[in-house]
């Protein structure tokens, strides 16, 4: 009987032991998937900075009116703001009271052009040629494509620039990106290169040359210069010879052709001067042999770069760059660009030149100081699809 009790006790205690084992240990079921934590957000947003920094009172008012403050304050986004401070607004002729007069939509457009879709510290902007092409938050035709963007062109070459506007201060760090202060408002381009060339009274020869170069090619066909100058996807720099330089060039070229045909020099000069006195020289059938479309095109494309080159982005020592002529003649040495800085207190280039291989001397860019924007200016005229500089000499490719 006693023995049985011991066994009974044994069984009971084993039972208790089992219960304890069960109670203290739990199975681990399949662990939940662990999310990858997003990088922690540190610092304050661009929106907060411009709302609190006393040098941004006009910008703050503009941003607020445009309704962009929530976007700039969203710390989950990545952006870079080229921020005009009060001095910059003033320099561009906009005061605080003016903001209340301006349309919100206009402000939205202008401000979005200052806002780049990625984090661009100055180290990422780079100092190489050409300027970095950066898509902004400004989509000119959202209905056409969500991917359409106007681009701006920052660089740290020759100081710091966004398009042709100097950077005053870079790398203000925010939670959602960077702020670089600019010296003036960076106006978004509104027209195409062709719009300017087509209407500028001092570029009538260039226009006629382009039309002649395109003869037989419709504007929508590939290779059409007018098409490219009207295409938002293009990215060009046009060195636009003023009418006087074109006239001089044509007079010389026609004179030479006439002399070669045996015309006495004096007559040749007089005839050539008369022929070249209007842009109609390019559409004069009598000169088709002297000015074949192919040669005209060769000259025209030698004046166009496939990149956007603001003068501030020109090298300070003369350097060769390819032109659109290299599309047909890949080994062509291109043109030589050079900018000269050095006016005390002025960030802009004092002078800039472009030299063709066949030219004895470099063509000078007609520089406005202080800069003047399209349509009145002559250098760094910014368009949707490129930049235009007027020059004083036709560039000769050979």
């Amino acid at each position: 009987m006693k023995k049985f009790q011991i066994k009974n006790w044994l069984v009971k205690s084993l039972g208790v032991l089992l219960v304890i084992i069960m109670a203290i240990s739990c199975n681990k079921d399949v662990p939940e998937a662990t999310p990858i934590a997003p990088a922690p957000i540190t610092g304050i947003s661009i929106g907060t900075i411009i709302s609190t920094d006393p040098s941004f009172t006009i910008l703050k008012a503009a941003v607020t009116k445009a309704g962009l403050l929530p976007l700039l304050s969203d710390s989950t986004l990545n952006m870079t703001l080229f921020a005009p401070d009060d001095a910059a607004f003033t320099a561009s002729g906009i005061t605080l009271p003016a903001i209340s007069v301006l349309r919100a939509g206009f402000l939205d457009t202008v401000l979005r052009y200052h806002l780049v879709s990625q984090r661009l510290p100055s180290s990422a902007i780079g100092a190489t040629f050409p300027n970095r092409q950066s898509p902004t938050f400004l989509n000119p035709a959202p209905a056409l494509s969500a991917l359409l963007r106007l681009t701006n062109f920052p660089t740290t070459r020759n100081g710091g620039w966004i398009n042709n506007i100097p950077l005053k201060q870079v790398d203000i760090v925010a939670s959602n990106g960077f702020i670089h202060k600019v010296a003036a408002i960076v106006a978004p381009p509104q027209r195409y290169l062709w719009d300017r060339i087509n209407t500028d009274p001092d570029l009538t020869y260039l226009k006629a040359a382009i039309v002649r170069a395109d003869s037989g090619v419709v504007a929508t066909a590939p290779g059409s210069l007018v098409g490219a100058l009207n295409n938002i996807g293009a990215n060009l720099t046009v060195f636009a010879p003023k009418d006087s330089s074109m006239r001089a060039f044509l007079t010389g070229a026609i004179t030479l052709a006439l002399i070669n045909q045996g015309v006495p020099p004096a007559t040749a000069v007089a005839t050539a001067t008369a022929l070249a006195s209007t842009p109609a020289v390019f559409s004069n059938p009598a000169l088709y042999a002297a000015l074949p479309a192919q040669s005209v095109k060769g000259i025209v494309v030698y004046h166009i770069l496939g990149q956007r080159a603001f003068t501030n982005n020109f090298p300070t020592t003369a350097t060769a760059y390819p032109t659109l002529l290299n599309g047909a003649v890949p080994t062509h040495p291109g043109v030589t660009l050079q900018a000269i800085f050095g006016i005390p207190g002025v960030p802009f280039a004092a002078a800039a030149t472009v030299k063709g291989i066949g030219n004895a001397s470099a063509s000078k860019l007609i520089i406005n100081l202080p800069p003047v924007s399209d349509p009145a200016g002559s250098n760094d005229q910014h368009f949707l699809n490129g930049v235009l500089h007027k020059i004083d000499q036709v560039l000769l490719p050979q």
Partner: protein
């Protein structure tokens, strides 16, 4: 229906009994138990014949003696766990009330599989575990197959409620091919799909008489395959087990609704065994299981090995669908399709030059891989597990010592299986049919396995193809090169991603927004369009761009055994045997390279075993040897030598040297199957070198290291083999109340078969860039040796008053694997089970209580599907039964995983929760 069956049974019984009584004398009596322990049915047979019967629940028996038997006859009273008794009946007139007293002991358990002859378990020369009728009847498990999982040294991978894979001594995995399962003498490995069908198809619970488990190498007697062990399941002979019986288990699963709503578990089984005359008996068995299956819901991110990432095996990683654009959920399907969107971004940049610098800055950071949006397992697989089994046999005694058996099992059902991917086995059908001649000293058996994969499909493939059907990832031109369209998922994704980035979105937000755009129109699960596309994919054969298997592979086998001991016993007991097998692989190119027609594989083997007692019967030596030859591989001899040393009565030490080897499985020979990660599994036979033009387009070793790619070389593909030495002790201690079984072993594997990934050029004119490589996974022999060792201890203690307490614990360790090898060892270092119970509780000993507790350690699970750590787990099973002897019935209530604590047995496999059932059983033996 049941009533009708019972009625028919009793009518027939009455009829037959009347005839028998009229013709023959009948010996009847009662078997009394001398101890308080419960006695199972005792079998009563006439010595030297196969004539016999069993006692009923009250110990009564009656045995008609055919006229062919002449008195005096000797009756043998025997049973599981009882001391056999013999009693002589002098004449037919002495027939009444032949009663014996019998006591139960653990000393006399008989096992067959250890030597293919009847041997006392205590004197078995190798480790053996046996599960008898009583355990099957009282074990707290919803399915008898689960009992195997609680045996010493056994690992169990549960792929679904009705799909469980067992093994011993390591190298487990769903569909393990190193462990033989033999049911009524028939190997139940599916000839095409290669897994042992286990509980899906085979015996019904009421028809299982015993299960014997031989852990460790056992080829010498059971043929190639039993590298790690052999499980033998034997059914009830209708001459011995008669009458109509049925059992109903009704249960509930998912009671906490964690993975799916609470649902019913139904398990109904019946058996009708009938001896029509002394010469003829038959049985019919059936079982039906219906339930909502356990769900595999591992949502963790999984990084598969690729040519680019240089991983040898996949791994679990942080990340979710919303935080990793290239997320590939372990149990999410369709998200295996992945691509680098950089080419598409650059393409947009080329068309919109003003975006080009921006795009360049995006792609500068390296590959931007994104995966298609996947579906969860519960969304792509039929949640209903259905299993229907039918079986039966016709047994005819040609003479009292020779029985002809014609029998078979057929099963069909839906279940989920984990191989190199998750597979929905839908309407799987498999039948095994045999003709057997069985004499006291010899047997001859012919059987066939007929497999039909039904509507089985690969979840990963089906979901990936489904995604392509509703929206192509990227369109390809007729010449095979990408021809992106704006309607392509990747194109839409890339554009939206770029758009998001242009709006300043963070990377992950841009990805998620892009996914939202690209997934527009993604069919909602269960919608008409979803069902239409999925059904179409599921029902289209793999060879025609769908996910359906068309496997109808078969096995034909003949085997025989002859025990020559009657002639040779003065020298030694000698046993000889042989077998022939022919596989016919028939998948119409959906699983094997049998596009041109079925592939046949023939193999044969023969064995001989000699045993002899020496040193005055103190030591019994057994030598066995086996030769096997497969038409694709060289022949091979596997020897075995064992010694049993009797150190005292009922105390034996056993020592064995065993070898085993395994021909590569039919899949390892002839498979060609694309799997989830984009790689293709191919067979290891040289024919594949020609099919894949290894001479003209040589593959390289993966992962690609630094330096020039190394051209892969292949040695002859050989069978793998294992040599194992085992020392064990089995004995009765503590006044025969404590059975101790202990063993230790070491095993060494040679030519271990592993899969090796190589990369072959897709476009031969390009180089060996990761993007230009198709990954082929080829079975090869490891050149290194793989060593394992382990030990186990089992204790069975009869406490008294019917109480018993069993403990078993074991350890298996992988040792000496070279760094370069993934061995798929997949076994916990430690595991143990406690089983405590009493089946004769209460005043009338009608109450039974059984509790099983299992614990196993955590371990690293390696597989082609998902690899990672399987956490340690424990589970408790319990059952209480109550008997109504008057109506031969039993009611019970039980639980598997009583505490409903979910656990997984392998990565990517379901979380198993509690299953609670009530049970009613009638006339179970």
């Amino acid at each position: 229906m049941k009533k009708l069956g019972r009625l028919a049974a009793s009518l027939l019984l009455t009829l037959v009994s009347t005839i028998v009584f009229a013709q023959n004398p009948v010996i009847s009596g009662k078997v009394n138990a001398v101890t308080g322990d419960n006695i199972n049915r005792i079998s009563v047979t006439i010595k030297g014949t196969k004539i016999g019967t069993t006692t009923d629940d009250n110990g009564n028996y009656s045995l008609p003696v055919p006229s062919s038997v002449t008195f005096p006859v000797t009756l043998i009273f025997s049973g599981v766990g009882v001391i056999s008794k013999e009693l002589t009946v002098a004449s037919a007139s002495q027939n009444n009330d032949v009663s014996v007293n019998i006591s139960t002991t653990m000393a006399d358990e008989i096992v067959v599989s250890a030597t293919r002859t009847q041997t006392k378990a205590l004197e078995s020369p190798v480790t053996i575990e046996r599960v008898g009728l009583n355990t099957i009847r009282t074990a707290p498990s919803a399915n008898y197959y689960d009992i195997v999982g609680n045996m010493k040294g056994v690992d169990l991978v549960t792929s679904s409620l009705t799909f469980k894979t067992v093994t011993t001594r390591g190298f487990n995995g769903s569909g393990n091919t190193r462990f033989n399962q033999i049911v009524d003498g028939m190997d139940n490995q599916a000839p095409g799909l290669n897994f042992s069908v286990g509980s899906v198809i085979g015996l019904t619970e009421l028809d299982v008489e015993s299960m014997e488990l031989l852990p460790g190498a056992s080829s010498a007697l059971y043929g190639p395959g039993g590298m790690n062990g052999t499980l033998l399941v034997n059914s009830k002979n209708p001459f011995k087990y008669q009458g109509f019986s049925f059992q109903v288990k009704e249960g509930a699963m998912h009671t906490d609704s964690k993975y799916r709503p609470t649902s019913l578990y139904n398990n109904w089984s019946m058996r009708w065994g009938q001896k029509v005359s002394e010469k003829f008996a038959f049985k019919i068995t059936a079982e039906f299981v219906h339930a909502k299956d356990w769900l595999a819901d591992d949502q963790r991110n999984y990084i598969r090995p690729t040519a680019a990432n240089g991983k040898k095996i996949g791994e679990i990683a942080p990340g979710t669908r919303s935080t990793d654009p290239n997320y590939n959920g372990a149990n999410a399907y369709g998200d295996e399709t992945t691509a680098d969107i950089r080419p598409f971004l650059l393409g947009i940049g080329a068309q919109a030059p003003f975006l080009q610098p921006f795009v360049n800055s995006l792609v500068a950071g390296g590959a931007i891989n994104v995966s298609r949006t996947g579906y969860e397992e519960g969304q792509v697989v039929d949640p209903n597990t259905v299993n229907f089994k039918l079986g039966g046999s016709l047994n005819y005694k040609l003479n009292p010592g020779l029985e002809l058996i014609v029998g078979g099992f057929w099963g069909s059902g839906n279940t989920v299986y984990t191989g190199s991917d998750r597979y929905s086995l839908k309407d799987l059908k498999m039948g095994q049919y045999k003709v057997e001649l069985n004499s006291k000293n010899w047997l001859l058996r012919a059987y066939t396995t007929q497999e039909n994969a039904g509507q089985s499909y690969n979840l990963t493939a089906a979901s990936r193809i489904f995604n392509e059907k509703w929206k192509p990832t990227v369109t390809f031109a007729a010449n095979g090169s990408p021809n992106p369209q704006t309607t392509d998922w990747l194109v839409q994704y890339s554009q939206a991603y770029l758009g998001g980035k242009l709006n300043g979105l963070s990377d992950i937000n841009a990805h998620n927004a892009a996914r939202g755009v690209a997934d527009v129109g993604r069919p909602e699960v269960g919608s008409a369009i979803y069902n239409q596309i999925y059904e179409n994919v599921r029902k289209t054969p793999i060879s025609k761009g769908g996910a359906l298997f068309l496997d109808k592979s078969d096995l034909y086998a003949v085997e025989g055994q002859w025990n020559l001991s009657d002639y040779t016993k003065n020298v030694a007991d000698i046993l000889v045997g042989g077998n022939f097998r022919s596989f016919v692989l028939n998948s119409q190119g959906t699983l094997f390279i049998d596009t041109a027609g079925p592939i046949s594989i023939n193999e044969f083997g023969a064995y001989v075993q000699a045993s002899r007692n020496i040193l005055g019967d103190k030591v019994r030596l057994t030598l066995s040897g086996r030769y096997d030859k497969n038409e694709n591989f060289k022949g091979r001899v596997t020897p075995r030598a064992t010694a049993v040393i009797k150190v005292a009565k009922n105390n034996n030490i056993r020592l064995s040297y065993q070898t085993a080897y395994r021909f590569p499985s039919t899949q390892q020979q002839y498979i060609r199957l694309g799997v989830g990660g984009g790689e293709t599994l191919i067979g290891g036979l040289p024919v594949f070198y020609q099919i894949y033009n290894f001479a003209g387009n040589p593959p390289i070793d993966l992962p690609i290291g630094s330096g020039t790619p190394k051209i892969s070389t292949f040695n002859e593909f050989k069978p793998e083999s294992v040599q194992s030495i085992e020392l064990g002790y089995k004995g009765l201690l503590a006044n025969d109340r404590l059975l101790v079984d202990a063993y230790g072993y070491i095993g060494q594997y040679t030519n271990f078969i592993v899969r090796r990934a190589v990369g072959q050029k897709i476009n031969t004119s390009l180089g060996y860039e990761p993007s230009n490589l198709r990954i082929l996974s080829i079975p090869v022999n490891s050149t290194g040796k793989v060593k394992t060792y382990g030990a186990g201890l089992g204790l069975e203690y009869r406490i008294g008053k019917g109480f018993f307490l069993n403990f078993n614990g074991s350890t298996d360790v992988l040792n000496g694997v070279s760094d370069n090898l993934i061995a798929y060892f997949n076994s916990p270092k430690y595991r143990y089970n406690f089983i405590v119970g009493n089946n004769a509780l209460g005043k009338n000993k009608r109450v039974g209580v059984n509790v099983t507790y299992r614990w196993q350690d955590s371990f690293m699970y390696e597989s082609d599907f998902v690899s990672g750590v399987v956490p340690a787990y424990h589970s408790v099973d319990a059952q209480v039964t109550y008997k109504f002897p008057a109506i031969k019935s039993l009611v019970g209530i039980g639980a598997n995983n009583l505490l409903n604590q979910y656990y997984i047995t392998a990565l990517g496999n379901p979380s198993i929760g509690g299953l609670y059932y009530v049970r009613f059983a009638y006339n179970i033996f």
